[in-house]
């Protein structure tokens, strides 16, 4: 009898040690906040739940930064971290929030669109929980999120996700993917409420342009591109040609497939007057045949297995020993946003959104991403937001 309880006590001790050691890091990650310094252009900060009551009090609610110009003009919505494991989008959005000033029109930025996913992890794939960006004042730490929202916030998953309102059958996991739940609904799944709230912003504020930033594998054909539906194709093509000619980087145009539902570049165009654009920057970290998924690899994009595949012409982007560093990926996003705004202003001068102070591709490649972040410890307290 005594032996029995000794064995049980030992097993319980190991069980508790496993739970505490494994769980503590995950708990801290979920509750880690990223400080965001609102730059000189930010005029208002609201919550996504202001546009959809169903998000109030949930982890899916997130900050919305509004940069208003002195002159009347058009409106643009920029979303990042739709997939929270594609950090170039988040970094590009934060650079805009901390540096951009709008002279004309309005810029609405949602830096952590799938806020629940940004507090989710992928320990099974060995993802790092955090990554650091070096700055002039020290290292700025970010949460490394996951593609899908946390099951802690939306559970259980259905056997098959039936898209609303098109009723297309999608993978069960896409019920937590905010790039499959567009256009959403006010009383649906939590992620459908998130996309519904963004649609409400576009409808109520009469947004002209919506840009959804992403990263995609180098072995995936839809990478290093702008995905656009028919009505956005002209502006997307002009933006792609202009950045190629003036800034020297490629980003081809991919048409948005009509039969594949739930994606931002499809549903925003079909269910609002807004012109949608989805930007994809190559992110080698997401490819499968790679070495360990380390923080270094996430940031420099260098991998010997991908290099070997590049020599065999198996990748959809040029790839050499220099990898695909985060500065290039973030720089591409920033330049493409500014170019899309510029091309839209040429076509619709009354609805122009004019932005200054935001860096372009060459600036970010030269100075690094961290150069554009401000020290939250030295910033005015009312300008620092935690999300």
């Amino acid at each position: 009898m005594r032996r029995n309880w000794t064995v049980k006590s030992l097993l319980l001790f190991f069980f508790l040690a496993l739970m505490i050691l494994g769980g503590l890091g995950l708990y801290q990650h979920r509750h880690f906040d990223i400080p965001i310094v609102a730059g000189p252009g930010v005029t208002r900060v609201v919550k996504l739940s202001d546009y959809a009551q169903g998000l109030k009090g949930t982890t899916a609610d997130t900050l919305v930064f509004i940069l208003e110009g002195k002159e009347e003009g058009g409106k643009a919505l920029i979303m990042s971290n739709t997939h929270a494991n594609e950090p170039e989008s988040l970094l590009a959005a934060l650079i805009m929030i901390e540096n951009a000033v709008v002279d004309r029109g309005t810029l609405i930025i949602i830096p952590q669109f799938n806020h629940s996913a940004s507090r989710n992890t992928k320990p099974g794939d060995g993802y790092p929980l955090y990554f650091d960006i070096p700055t002039e004042w020290g290292r700025k730490t970010f949460r490394m999120g996951n593609r899908d929202a946390s099951p802690l916030d939306q559970w259980p998953d259905p056997d098959v996700y039936i898209h609303y309102p098109e009723r297309q059958l999608l993978s069960f996991i896409d019920a937590r993917n905010t790039n499959r739940t567009w256009p959403g609904r006010p009383n649906g799944l939590l992620m459908e409420k998130v996309t519904f709230a963004a649609m409400e912003i576009m409808r109520r504020e009469k947004v002209d342009i919506a840009v959804d930033m992403h990263g995609a594998e180098t072995m995936f054909p839809v990478t290093n591109c702008i995905v656009a539906p028919e009505k956005s194709l002209r502006i997307a093509t002009m933006a792609a040609l202009t950045v190629k000619a003036r800034e020297g980087f490629d980003s081809h145009v991919e048409p948005s497939p009509v039969g594949f539902r739930g994606l931002s570049h499809r549903e925003i165009g079909d269910y609002a007057e807004t012109l949608p654009f989805l930007l994809e920057a190559p992110i080698p970290f997401l490819d499968q045949p790679t070495g360990p998924k380390t923080e270094k690899f996430l940031l420099d994009g260098k991998d010997p297995f991908l290099l070997s595949l590049a020599h065999k012409k198996k990748l959809f982007v040029p790839y050499d020993e220099s990898g695909w560093p985060i500065s290039k990926r973030v720089g591409q996003h920033c330049s493409l946003i500014l170019e899309i705004l510029g091309q839209h202003a040429k076509k619709f001068p009354d609805r122009a959104v004019e932005v200054r102070g935001a860096p372009r591709y060459a600036d970010i490649v030269k100075n690094g991403v961290g150069y554009y972040f401000h020290d939250p410890a030295r910033a005015e307290k009312t300008k620092v937001y935690s999300n």
Binding site: L11, L12, F15, M19, G22, G23, L152, P156
Partner: protein
Amino acid sequence: MVMIFYYFISAFLALLLLWNFIREKKNVEDMALYLLVLVPLILRILRVK
């Protein structure tokens, strides 16, 4: 609403496993397995993962 129901199911299964662990007298392998299966349920009930 469905999510709350699933938390109750998890708590119920966790109690069953714990009860089986306490009742088990001889088989150490079974005791270890009960605790191992308990891990994800406890992590979910405590809203850790």
